[in-house]
Amino acid sequence: MQDMSQMSTTEQFFYYMQENGLYVFSQFLDHFLISIYGVLLAALIGIPLGILISKYSKLSGVVITLANIIQTIPALALMAILMLVLGLGKTTVIVTVFFYSLLPIIKNTYVGIKNINKSITDAGRGMGMTKAQVLYMVELPLSLSVIITGIRIALVVAIGITAIGAFIGAGGLGDIIIRGTNATDGTAIIIAGALPTALMAILSDVLLGLIERKLDPVKRQQKRINQVI
């Protein structure tokens, strides 16, 4: 083994990555999957809930207030509470991510559908669409990009929360960071955990941003116009 104290932090970082590349990568994947599972679960519940409250406006106040309250609980506190019920490990972190992702997803679905010009859904109904057809032929396509924005916000937050999840033994890149803080002179190890976390957040944001733009009917049209010209 080389003498670590002789190297600069950058050198230490590259050395660490060389030696533990596979470990970092597997934690990266774990981290990503925990976040994704939590967000997907939230989308599975949140999108239908958002649709529901856009139809029954009376419910919207209650649901959005509830989701707002969850959002105000600090992540660590929420995780601690859930840990009492679900114990240590990945499940607790996934459920925490789920709760945090609910608000942006519900809210964006609700706003996305509510913001559709009333004359468009009215025309759909007037042409003889059933309620279900109005939903999947008009409302969902027109609000899809706004819903994706919600998912994008949720995913970026989720990646941050998952990093904290390492404290309750869920693994992920947070694990590497904690190792770094425990080691004497562990700056390089902390960076080895933090840098991929940041990278993951930025990449997810950019990628979903691209998808979102692709799905926006207005922006898509503008692209077509450019092609025509």
Partner: protein, 385 residues
């Protein structure tokens, strides 16, 4: 066919939008709803396809109770042009036009064929079928909104101010188109408008609404001749009442014999005919005297050396009226489009007459002179008393 009895709509909050409406509409009729803003026209219209549920009253369509029908099936069987246009922004013009056929699960070929056929009716190129609504102007979008209501070939069509955003000339063309489709295919059209001229031109019967109540429901001629009350009188405007006074004339009474030439003749013959008859326009007909177009001095100045026959240089774009049309409409068209004259054709499209600007001057003169004589006589009567 469509029978409406004591139809009433009270919105939440107590606003009585339609109050005890009674209408009996026949198959193939063109009905115009007209009235001030907020008089309940849209509400009345939307109760027919159950976009608005009535508070009370009865509606039957071919003796079937509308309120007991499945609203989705009902709406697919009734064409509807909504006041706010409401095209789907995420669908192409093609998909917008064929939305109802799509819901009715027509085949793709049939839908495409329909879209292509329809878009030509409103003077838009077929390439527009691949565009999105945002790429069209307001007036073009409105035309697509009208086509959407025609696509599934429904027997009844509801139109809520379908021509609001159009310039006068496009509006005129589309009015003709709708009237023609309605007459040819014997469709029942219920049409909401703010424009009395439009109502008079298109409607077989006009329903005048005011504050939710039906004030008068009659043919345009009867309404102009006997307005039910001062509101109606004010609404139709005094200028129209005066215009209408001399017995209603049709183009047949004033048209003259047009100078025409058959399509296979040579240009030399055409010019000789013009000189001989001292006219600057010849109407071009085929062997059966069917109107094909016209030829005027402008159409062959310069081209005389290269072109030899009438068929090579006549103008195919021509405005005409049908025999039996009201004179007023023809006059309006001549003035609006700045035409010199307008040919009259019969049902088989055969050229039967011509209304010229000179004719119109005669009529106007007649009207004024005729009225003066009337008042002079009145005075005489008064004096003799």
């Amino acid at each position: 066919m469509l029978k409406i009895e004591n139809l009433t709509k009270v919105y939440r909050g107590g606003k009585v939008a339609v109050d005890q409406l009674n209408l009996d509409i026949n198959q193939g009729e063109f009905i115009a709803f007209i009235g001030t803003s907020g008089s309940g026209k849209t509400t009345a219209l939307r109760m027919i396809n159950r976009m608005v549920e009535p508070t009370s009253g009865k509606m039957t369509l071919n003796d079937k109770d509308i309120t007991k029908m499945n609203p989705v099936t009902l709406r697919r069987s009734i064409g509807y042009v909504i006041q706010q246009i409401g095209l789907m922004p995420h669908m192409t013009i093609r998909d917008n036009i064929t939305l109802v056929p799509h819901l009715l699960k027509w085949s793709k070929e049939k839908k495409d064929e329909t879209a292509r056929r329809l878009i030509e009716l409103v003077n838009l190129p077929p390439s527009y079928l691949d565009y999105y609504p945002a790429q069209l102007s307001g007036g073009q979008q409105q035309r697509i909104g009208v086509l959407r209501a025609l696509a599934a070939n429904q027997d009844i069509i509801l139109m809520d101010e379908p021509f609001g955003a159009l310039d006068p000339i496009t509006r005129d063309t589309l009015q003709d188109l709708i009237k023609d489709i309605q007459q040819r295919l014997n469709k029942t059209v219920i049409f909401v408008t703010h424009d009395m001229d439009e109502a008079i031109k298109l409607a077989d019967r006009i329903a005048i609404m005011h504050e939710g109540k039906l004030i008068q429901f009659d043919t345009p001629d009867n309404i102009l001749a006997n307005p039910a009350n001062d509101f109606v009188k004010e609404f139709i405007g005094s200028h129209r009442l005066i215009q209408q006074k001399p017995n209603i004339k049709t183009v047949d009474e004033v048209m003259i014999k047009p100078i025409s030439i058959t399509i296979e003749k040579s240009l030399d013959e055409a010019i000789r005919l013009m000189v001989e008859k001292r006219v600057d326009t010849l109407f071009v007909t085929d062997g059966d005297n069917r109107l094909q177009g016209y030829l005027d001095v402008e159409s062959f100045t310069g081209a005389r050396k290269t072109k030899k026959s009438v068929s090579e240089c006549y103008e195919k774009d021509i405005f005409y009226v049908k025999t039996g049309s009201k004179l007023q409409d023809s006059v309006r068209r001549i003035l609006k489009r700045n035409l010199k004259n307008i040919p009259v054709v019969d049902e088989e499209h055969r050229l039967v007459g011509l209304v010229t600007r000179a004719n119109i001057v005669d009529i106007v003169y007649d009207t004024i002179w005729g009225e003066e004589e009337e008042t002079v006589q009145n005075k005489k009567e008064l004096m003799s008393e």
